[in-house]
């Protein structure tokens, strides 16, 4: 008797489940539609941004003036500013348009340069903007895709504190330009060369400067602090070094060629970095950059950050962006330098 009852209950249960499954199968489209009404499901990365009304943007905490200035305190709280920050504002505006006019708030994550790649790979960033070279191949940057460039005149340059070092390097290059690898090896031989770790300057120095003493620094300010022994030449983004040597560290001078022109060791273009599979986002960013280039806004941005006289705290107060402070505590120290192993 008991066995009979249990079998009957079991049969009824199986039938009910079967019926429910059948109903769901025939109407699964309706079920999904109903779910989407409550919680819309994003089809791509742009839709995801639209749904959360926030775009997660990485930016390097190591200052690369005038692309990114050090964070400062303002009447509105802590803010960061620079050409890259202004560009992020423009991209957020383009995203807002793409999201049917819903305002998209840029949430900035100020992290170490090397961590930008990690966070992007972990899906914690939608993109990052930190004067990243789009045309320098590196296995460390696999899985990344770049937008069209927003800054064409990038590349590696160098600066030194001593005129005689500049003269020596200039003489070694002679008539050759900075692209000549054998001249580069000779010119920098025996010198202490400082670079920011993880940047294209490190890639270049590791490949080309075999006879130099290479010092890897977490940031440019860390390199300036290093005194054991002092750095002979700092290699880095030429536009940044030029800005720094003319406005911040005026006791440093750019390396020059015999012609008196700045010595360029490479040509680079800076772009916005995204995950390789962010096709729609990349198209949208490319379209925004194209529009900004065509209507002269990008040129105007480059001019106001590179050519105009200004003090960045004031710009930070009026147009800077806040950032996710919880990311900062582990990163606010500008870091240190160590010798190449």
């Amino acid at each position: 008797m008991g066995l009979f009852v249990r079998r009957a209950v079991l049969t009824a249960l199986v039938r009910s489940l079967g019926l429910a499954a059948f109903c769901l199968m025939t109407g699964c489209g309706l079920v999904i539609d109903a779910v989407q009404l409550v919680q819309p499901i994003a089809k791509d990365e742009v839709q995801r941004i639209c749904l959360r009304q926030r775009v997660q943007v990485g930016i390097s905490v190591e200052p690369s003036r005038p692309f990114v200035f050090p964070a400062v305190f303002t009447d509105e709280g802590v803010r960061v500013t620079g050409l890259d920050v202004e560009l992020i504002r423009e991209l957020a505006a383009a995203l807002s348009q793409a999201c049917d006019g819903r305002a998209i708030e840029p949430v900035l994550h100020l992290v170490r340069f090397r961590d930008l790649f990690v966070l992007l790979n972990e899906g914690k960033l939608d993109f990052f903007v930190s004067s990243i070279s789009a045309n320098v191949p590196s296995p460390a940057r696999s899985g990344l895709a770049y937008s069209m460039p927003y800054f064409m005149d990038g590349g590696l340059g160098g600066m030194t504190r001593r005129p005689e070092t500049d003269a020596k390097i200039s003489a070694e290059f002679g008539e050759a330009d900075g692209s000549d690898p054998s001249s580069a090896v000779r010119a920098f031989a025996g010198l202490v060369v400082g670079v920011q770790e993880g940047t294209t300057a490190e890639l270049y120095a590791r490949m080309a400067l075999k006879a130099s003493r290479l010092l890897l620094c977490d940031s440019l300010p860390a390199a300036f602090e290093w005194q054991d022994p002092p750095i002979d030449v700092m290699l880095g983004k030429e536009p940044v070094l030029r800005f720094v040597s003319t406005r911040v560290k005026t006791d440093w001078r750019m390396l020059t060629r015999k012609t008196g022109k700045p010595l360029r060791l490479s040509r680079e273009q800076y772009a916005v970095a995204m995950a390789e599979e962010s096709y729609r986002l990349r198209s949208l960013v490319n379209a925004a950059l194209f529009r900004l280039e065509e209507n002269g806004r990008l040129a105007e941005m480059r001019r106001r950050w590179f050519e105009e006289p200004y003090a960045y705290p004031r710009r930070a107060a009026s147009e800077g962006l806040p950032f996710a402070a919880e990311d900062m505590p582990a990163h606010y120290d500008q870091g240190r330098c160590r010798w190449r192993r």
Partner: protein, 246 residues
């Protein structure tokens, strides 16, 4: 902008048009407003005293924490008022002041706490964490969480949010016309529902680094200097405090 801390003249003699219903209610509100303005200014002074440390590019962790700020703030406030912030229940001050002073201390601590990531940056000198920016943030946070409005203002503010309203313009003009530094001015406004108090701040030598001469030259934060001289009226701390209805 830097060092707008300047000297605040204690409201020894509060002046201004007295209304007919001058009462303990108004006296309590005046005393509270005065203490709040003094506490905000004490915070600005503490920031000013630590400016060299804050702007030291060679030091990372500076030790100018919210707790360190609170200790120095309590000392400065006690030196100026004789009131121990840790023993407010014993102090002969209005009940409202006993409630509001700790809130302003908390607002100031929160500002210093938030600024740690900027203050402790190594390799960066000037960080724009100065008395004026501290004061703006602390006043805004405090006002946001209470019925009292606290604000730094001046006739020519660098921050548009510090633009004076009509009452503050009048008060600032009156204070600016005085030949010698004077105390706060106060008035019952809004049909007897609000007490307004404007406590003057005067330029001292430190202020002039950014606000002095030559007028028009940019200071380190990018604003044109005002061409001010020592002892001139720099601005004021304005307090708007609701009066209890009877």
């Amino acid at each position: 902008m830097r060092r707008l801390a300047c000297a605040m003249v204690l409201a020894a003699g509060l002046s201004g048009p007295a209304t007919a219903d001058t009462s303990s209610n108004r006296a309590d509100a005046e005393a509270t407003a005065h203490l709040l303005a003094t506490l905000l200014d004490a915070g600005r002074i503490v920031v000013d005293r630590n400016q060299a440390l804050i702007d030291d590019p060679h030091k990372g962790e500076k030790g100018f924490t919210a707790e360190a700020f609170e200790r120095q703030l309590a000392r400065e406030f006690q030196a100026r008022t004789g009131i121990d912030l840790h023993r407010l229940h014993d102090a002969a001050i209005p009940t409202t002041a006993k409630e509001l002073l700790p809130r302003l201390v908390e607002a100031g601590k929160a500002v210093v706490e938030d600024a740690q990531i900027v203050i402790n940056q190594r390799g960066v000198g000037y960080k724009n964490f100065i008395p004026a920016t501290f004061g703006s943030q602390a006043a805004a946070r405090f006002s946001h969480r209470s019925s009292v409005t606290l604000k730094q203002t001046t006739l020519r503010p660098r921050n548009p949010k510090n633009q004076p309203d009509d009452y503050e313009v009048q008060a600032l003009r009156r204070l600016g016309a005085q030949k010698a530094p004077s105390g706060a001015v106060s008035e019952v406004a809004d049909g007897g529902r609000t007490l307004r108090m404007v406590t003057p701040l005067y330029y001292d030598k430190d202020c002039l680094v950014c606000h002095g001469e030559p007028a028009g030259e940019e200071d380190m934060s990018g604003y044109p200097k005002e061409g001010a001289r020592e002892g001139e009226l720099a601005g004021a701390i304005s307090v708007k405090i609701p009066l209890k209805s009877r």
